[in-house]
Amino acid sequence: MMEALHSLDKKIINSLQGGFPLCEKPWDVLSQQLDIPADEIMSRIERLMQDGYISRFGPMYNAEKLGGGLTLAAMKVPPNRFDEVTDCVNAFDEVAHNYQRDHIFNMWFVLATEKPEQIKQIIKKIEKQTGLLVYNMPKKEEYFLGLKFEV
């Protein structure tokens, strides 16, 4: 739980979400910025990863910029068909995440394809197999000002 986190762990998590330096000796730069010895920052990160507080350390890539297709799609699935439709949608490798949500639009999934034009093809296939409409909601603009998740 949160309480178990040392103030230095919090400091590391808060400052390292976007700012790992890109230079030959990044830990030395961080050590100066945070006023924590480099070895201690590294050992704390190692433990935070082992304990599951940090799920990843490294560069985060933007899949779309690499030429793939990405979208968020929603469906209004009749409750009595929910399991059947879930199986159908999840069977597609291109469905990366799928969530049930408490709304008439009750199924929300992320489609990620190797090529942008494949998004429409997969959506057509899902519509054909389920007989239900798929609402394709690709992002038109992103308002992302760097993650700053305070702990």
Binding site: L22, M42, P59, L72, A96, H103, K139, K140, Y143, F149
Partner: protein, 169 residues
Amino acid sequence: MQTSPAEQTVYTIDNIDREIIRITQQGLPLVREPYQAIAAQLGISTQQLIERMQAMTDSGIIRRTGVVPNHYKLGYTANGMSVWNVPETLITEIGMTIGALDFVSHCYQRPRFLPEWPYNLFAMVHGRSKDEVRDKVEIIAGLLGDNNRGHSVLFSTKILKKTGLRIKD
């Protein structure tokens, strides 16, 4: 550091960049000189690796480099997808304001489907409980004032599938 879309440069990746992506998408090694370790694996100089990763960061291919906290483990077990109907003419300004809030992790403009889906702005709101998420949604509503033409918050009731977004080689 994150580069805002307006400042991004265009950069076309080559085979060496693809190798860099393949090796680093699972993470950087937790060693004193992580870039040197990656460069050695690829048979290029550390300086070349740093320049390429800088170019990918400047062009937005790398969103950012650092740690990804596990929201659940940190006690932020509730998340709600808040959706908003806001005037199209003001949406960039509104999106920037909402995206800057510390409890919002993603903020996107998406298409409406009238009449059944009037919402054009999505903001993922995190909290320690559903009530905390609802309180934060009300903070957003307060900020929007008259520009809020309707909103809703959708909580996830079940994860039906979750696989990593894999970048193909």
